[in-house]
Subunit: 359 residues, 2 copies
C-alpha cells in the first residue's frame, strides 16, 4: 500500500500559501490529511483542497502533533518559532522563508539543481529566495557543462514578491494614478523599512532593507544563496556573484538580466542554448526572428523557468547575456516547495533523523 | 547687440518635439523667430512658444530658407531627407534621431561629456540615443578620473521612448487590464516589427528590431554610441561595452543598472560617489540609510541625470554597481538637443562651414 502523509501548510492564507495548497493538490504527494495553519487573524477562514473545504486553524506548537510534512511560508519569524517544534514532533519541514537558508545544517534545495542535498536534511529543508531560484535553474546546466566563473545579475522583480498586501497596494496605486489621484504607499518597497514609495509607473531599486556596503538584504541573498546552492554540489572552487535588485511595476513573475562568464572559453551561444534547452525545469524561448523571448505575462501560472535572449558578449570570450523569467510565486516559492516535497516522498526521506535540527 | 537666431523645430508635435519647444523657451538661445515643422497630418495645429501662438507648417525643403538652427526629432527618415537640405541652405542642425549618429563626419555630443566635438561639426550635430546619454553623463566623470575598462548595462526603459502613440497605447493597456479587459497591442514593443505585445504589467526585452548576434538595434546603439562618445575624446585605447535593453511599464524616465570596471584599482566607492557628485549634469542620490536613490517618478520633468546605489563588487577590485535614472524625453532627447544648441550659440558655432555635410 502506498505510504500517505499528514501534511500541514503554515501560512496558508498568504500569496504563496494559497498557491502551496493548489500546487500540493496538483502534485504526486500522497496526502492523507491536510492542516491549514495561519495566524489568529486568519483562523476560521475556509479554503478548498481537492474539492474538500478545510478550516484554517491558528498555529500553535501542538498543531504539529502527528504531522509528517510541513510546508512553511508564514514569514521568517513564524518559521523560526514553529519549525524546530515541528521537527521535535517528527515532522519534516520545507521552509520557504529566509529563516534557515544560510544555516550550515539546513540544505538549500532547488530540485533541478542540487537534489542530492535532500538526503542530508536534519528535519528542515530550505527553499531559496525567489530571485535566486529562477537564476540557478537557468545557470546550473551551463555550470555543469561549461563551468561558471562569474555572474552579474540585474533583477526586475514583481510586486507580489513583497506579499499579497503589497500587491494589493500596487494595484490601488495603479488605479489612483490612472484616475489622476495622488498615489499612497504604506508597504512598498518593503514593510520593514521607514519610508514608502509608490511602485506603480515607477521603479524602486530597493528590495528588503539595506545592509553592509550599500547592498540590500535581497542582493546579499542572491549572492550567498547562489554560492551555497552551486558550490556545495558541483565541486567548483569559486564563483563570483554580484547583484542589483529592482522592484518593477509588474504583479507576478520576475525578470532577470543575467551576465555570466563560463570557464570553457570555446562555448558558443548555440552551445549554451542547447544545454539550457536540454535541461529540466527550464524552457528555452529564444527566437529573435520571430520575436520569441520570455515575458512575465506569459510565465504567470507556469511551473517552469523561461530563458532567452542568449547572446555572446562580443568583446569577452566565454561571456554571455541572458534574460530569465519565472512565476515568482510558483517556481520562486510554492512550486519549488511542493517539488521538494515530491522528491522527499519519492526518495522516502519524509523522516526526521535522530540527530535532528535543534536550532 | 546680441546675435539672434531663426530657429526651426522639425517634428514639433511629437513627444520629444513638444518638449523641445518648451526647453527652447526656457533656454539661453536667443530666438528671433521660431518655425514649427511637422508632417502634413499635423500641419495647421497651433502650439505656444513664450506666450505666442505658432501654427505648425508642413515640412518642405524650402521650410529651411533663412533658418539658422534646426532642432530635429521627426524620425530618422525625415532627418535623412531634410537635414542635408537644411545644411545646404545654411542651417546648423542638431538631430535627435539615429540617422547620422555613427557617421564619421557628424559629432555625437553630450555637452557634459564631449563638448569639444561641437567645433568639428559640418552642419549636423547628432544627439545620442536616450539610454546612451544618461549612462555616459554618469560614467564620463569616472572615466576621466579613474579610466574605464568595461561597462555591462541592463536598461529599464520607459514606454515614452517608443513615442507618444506607444505611450498612449501603454496607458490604454493599463486601464484595460485593471478593468479586467483583454489588452491589445498594435505598436509596442516597436512599430517597426511584426508582432506586438502588451507592455502594461509586463516586461518586453525587445527595444527596436533584432539585428546581428541576437542583439537589438537599441543594444547596438548603446554599445557603438558609448564608444564613439567616450573614445574619441578621452584618449582611451579601448572600452568594452555590452547591453541588455528592456522596456518596462513606466511612462517616463529610464532606469539603468550599470556595472563598470575602472582602470585605477585603488578607486573606492566613496571616490566614485565624490567624482559623480562633483560633476556637471548629474546629481548623486545615494543615501541607503535614508532610502535615497533615483526613481523615475522623481526624475520626470528634470533636466539632470540621477545616480545612486553605487557599490563595490565585493569580489572584483575596481568594479562597481550603479543605478542611473533620467527623464528620457528631456536629458535623453529634448533637453540634450537644446543644450547642444545653447553651446553652439555660446561658442559662436551656429554657422555652416564651406566643406559642409553632403550626405
Amino acid at each position: 500500500m502506498m505510504k500517505e502523509y499528514n501534511v500541514a501548510i503554515l501560512g496558508a492564507t498568504g500569496a504563496v500559501g494559497m498557491r502551496m495548497v493548489d500546487q500540493l493538490a496538483n502534485s504526486t504527494v500522497p496526502v492523507k490529511s491536510l492542516k491549514l495553519l495561519a495566524s489568529a487573524h486568519s483562523a476560521g477562514k475556509q479554503m478548498e483542497f481537492k474539492g474538500e473545504k478545510i478550516t484554517v486553524e491558528e498555529t500553535t506548537n501542538d498543531s504539529f502533533d502527528n504531522v509528517d510534512l510541513v510546508l512553511a511560508s508564514a514569514g521568517g519569524a513564524a518559521s523560526k518559532k514553529f519549525l524546530p517544534e515541528a521537527v521535535k514532533r517528527g515532522a519534516v519541514c520545507v521552509d520557504n522563508t529566509s529563516a534557515f537558508r544560510m544555516d550550515p545544517e539546513v540544505p538549500l534545495v532547488v530540485p533541478e539543481v542540487n537534489p542530492e542535498q535532500l538526503k542530508n536534511h536534519k528535519g528542515i529543508i530550505a527553499n531559496p529566495n525567489c530571485s535566486t531560484i529562477q537564476m540557478v535553474v537557468a545557470l546550473a546546466p551551463v555550470f555543469k557543462k561549461y563551468g561558471l566563473k562569474q555572474v552579474i545579475v540585474s533583477t526586475y522583480q514583481a510586486a507580489s514578491g513583497a506579499g499579497q498586501s503589497a500587491l494589493n497596494e500596487f494595484y490601488q496605486q495603479a488605479k489612483d494614478y490612472l484616475d489622476g489621484k495622488q498615489m499612497s504607499a504604506d508597504i512598498l518597497p518593503t514593510a520593514g523599512d521607514k519610508k514608502h514609495y509608490p511602485l506603480a509607473f515607477n521603479l524602486l531599486p530597493q528590495i528588503d532593507v539595506f545592509e553592509d556596503e550599500g547592498y540590500t538584504h535581497e542582493e546579499w541573498k542572491m549572492i550567498h544563496e547562489t554560492k551555497k546552492i552551486m558550490l556545495n554540489d558541483m565541486n567548483a572552487t569559486d564563483l563570483k556573484v554580484t547583484a542589483t535588485c529592482v522592484r518593477v511595476p509588474v504583479p507576478i513573475s520576475h525578470g532577470e538580466s543575467v551576465y555570466f562568464e563560463v570557464e570553457d572559453k570555446n562555448a558558443s551561444a548555440d552551445d549554451i542554448k542547447k544545454t539550457i534547452s536540454d535541461a529540466a525545469g527550464v524552457t528555452l524561448q529564444d527566437d529573435p526572428d520571430h520575436q520569441v523571448y520570455p515575458q512575465p505575462l506569459n510565465a504567470e501560472g507556469k511551473r517552469e523557468t523561461f530563458a532567452g535572449r542568449i547572446r555572446p558578449d562580443q568583446e569577452n570570450k566565454g561571456c554571455f547575456n541572458m534574460w530569465v523569467v519565472a512565476d515568482n510565486l510558483l517556481k520562486g516559492a510554492a512550486w519549488n516547495t511542493v517539488e521538494n516535497a515530491e522528491r522527499l516522498v519519492d526518495e522516502d526521506l519524509v523522516r526526521v533523523p535522530k540527530d535532528h535540527y535543534q536550532g
